[in-house]
Amino acid sequence: MTAIEINKKLIENFGDDIIKTVKAYENELYLEIKPDRIRELSGYINHEMGYPLVSMFANDETSLIGKYAVYYAFADRVSGILLILKIGIEPEQMTFESIAGKVHAAARYEREIKDLFGLNPVGHPNAKRLVFHGNWPRETFPLRKAYDLKHRPDFAKEKINFSKVISAGVFEIPVGPVHAGIIEPGHFRFSVAGEPIINLEAQLYFVHKGIEKLCEGESLEKCLFVAERISGDESFTNAYAYCQAIEKIAGLKIPERAEYIRVVFAELERLTSHLGDLGGICTDVAYGFAASQFKMMRGWAYGIADELCGMRFLRGVNRLGGVRKDFVAGKEASLIRQLKKIRSEFEETEVIIKANSFFIDRVENTGILSAQIAADLNAVGPPARAAGIRSDVRKSFPNRVYRQLSFAIPEHHNGDVNCRMNVKIEECYQAIDLMLAAIDSMPAGRIRESITTVAPYQFAFGMTEAPRGENIHWVMTGENNTIFRYKIRTPSFCNWPALCHAVKGNLVPDFPLINKSFNLSYAGNDL
């Protein structure tokens, strides 16, 4: 369906409710609608048209239109179109209708908006605080423009209540925020009856740094470096999504060679990340030999990154309008040799681990995420693909290079640790093959265009397939090449609630394994 057809269909059904339609760029369709009709419209789009809610955010536009605005982004993953509903909220009113009852994926976004903007979702099934812990005073709404970035409010003392499971023999296990392993902080509250987990509530946002607020009013260039530091091992893909958004606003088509170089780095990042996950899965079932194999290969992948750009985490590669240097030129032969070495080692290691029945026994049927829950919560990336949902930004919103290169989305349906592992194994091969193909067909030429000025108050989405899944950034520019609003939605934000469902019924000692197979970023969620 094209954007025009989607618009026509919505006007046929909801003609009276749509105030304004704007088609921005190739694939973004913005509809401003009446605030009291959002529930019906979003329900129709989600259920009848089958478009998942991929991002939702508020924006303080009181200085522009005298209102707050809430945006609901739905994705047509078949034809690659984003359909965005926008409602305006009067500053006297400060409430909006919750759609969480109809569109389940909206629940966490609405709680986030409530915390950061003080806009109340009316009718939300459980609107407890999400971003702010008990130490934040109520009435702290940092993303309102009137809030001073540097203002650090006094510490409050409010008790956070977790969902309680009450029955004979049910007890709670609190874990975190400082964990036993070398990982990020988060608090997990398990309700268990003996070994099996009945309920898991994850309290996150321990590493909330206020990134979205930090970017407001800053130069476009500085925000690129902030984007690289959203989530440690997703530096490249986050910067990539940010650059895409700005380039879209500037109306710039980056040179083909730059696009190819970006694809090489994006796939290198995926390979590195997946090798780490596979090593982690092996560590968590105490399979030391295989873990060392994967860590060794990961070390090699870091070596490639170091050789190409001097940064193990691929920071400082992207720039607005292309890439900083021609990182690949002259290094093709060495790159191909190292990738082939990883590939053959990976093949042999895969044979070894799959022949180990003790190992397969631990991962098979552990931590099953059902396809229905995955769809309802808009789970993305390898966990969704392992549950039978075929979503991949590289296929649904491809850039020129991915359109030319041939690759297939891995198909698995059981949704357990084994399937997630297999998706990652297949994607490792795919990443290597894509890199080899990209190096092979990379045209010569320029590696960047320059962006001098960007028009104020323009907005666009940037989308990439991060190692963890669909990554969506929305940028609205301000005066003098600054950022007015930067909404970051990383794949981890969508997958955290899915993880909490996947562990139900499993044993507590299997939680680290299930957690590792999802490999979610805390920093990417907490921002």
């Binding site: 970035l149 540097k150 925020p177 036993a180 990020e184 500085k222």
Partner: protein
């Protein structure tokens, strides 16, 4: 099983002999140096440095870099019109005093937290620790609000290439078992209490090492409503390891510096 043994024989030892021997291939993004002879004073780097790590002395007009704030993005090297700025491959940058990481000719007086009385206490502590720990060191890692980059590099210290257990360093699961806290991140507001509790749970004598630009100074995330400008606002720090993120060998160097075995 045969395949497993084959692999074990094929890769008997991957571990680099750092720090006994220098690294064979040095990284390309280490400390940044400014050649003041070439500098024209245009101020391009000052305005565009994403973490405002480059500073100019008001009187002498000399430029300097605060390594505790630098995120090693290499932008200054790229944009300097006179080519006065260059990245070196020097990565062993850890220092015991934050002032040592900052350009001496600069306005340091603004950062009051550097001259706090705990410095004196720490100096005494370090003396005792050398006596106490002997050759083995138990480390507890605390992520107090990083992007996870530093944590990945700390993880990489345990990979086959670095294998820090050979140096007598051991990562433990609880602060109760630890001699040293390796802290990453800016100490976000939501992690401050957890960091203090972890610090208090670690038995004396203890060392605290700040890993990465965020832990040293707040890095690119400082001055936000939800962060603090470096973990030394919350707990005393013995060694600062700059970098964004510092590579595993740089962290090893910092830890060794902390126990004064170098």
């Amino acid at each position: 099983m045969f395949n497993t043994i084959k692999k074990i024989i094929k890769y008997p030892n991957l571990t680099q002999n750092y720090p006994r021997k220098a690294l064979l291939s040095l990284p390309k993004t280490g400390k940044t140096v400014i050649d003041m002879k070439k500098c024209t004073g245009c101020g391009e780097c000052l305005g565009r440095c994403p973490s405002q790590a480059i500073v100019r002395d008001a009187q002498t007009k000399v430029l300097g870099i605060n390594l505790d704030t630098c995120v090693f993005c290499t932008l200054c090297e790229e944009i300097c019109p006179s080519g006065a700025i260059a990245m070196t491959n020097q990565f062993e940058l850890a220092e015991e005093k934050r002032t040592a990481l900052r350009s001496s000719t600069l306005v340091i007086a603004e950062d009051q937290e550097i001259v706090m009385p705990y410095e004196a206490i720490c100096a005494e502590l370090v003396k005792r620790i050398r006596k106490t720990f002997g050759r083995s060191l138990n480390i507890r890692e605390v992520d107090a609000g990083s992007c996870n980059g530093c944590d990945y590099e700390i993880n990489a210290m345990n990979n086959p290439f670095n294998d820090v257990e050979r140096l007598g360093m051991h990562f433990v699961a609880s602060p109760r078992h630890a001699d040293m806290l390796l802290v990453t991140g800016t100490a976000t507001r939501n992690m401050q209490l957890a960091l203090i509790k972890t610090y208090n749970a670690t038995p004396d004598p203890k060392l605290v090492v700040a890993v990465g630009a965020c832990a040293c100074s707040g890095g690119i995330f400082r001055d936000s409503y939800a962060t603090s400008n470096g973990i030394d606002n919350i707990v005393p720090v013995d060694v600062y390891i700059p970098g964004c993120p510092p590579r595993p060998q740089a962290i090893i160097y910092g830890i060794l510096k902390a126990i004064e075995k170098l």
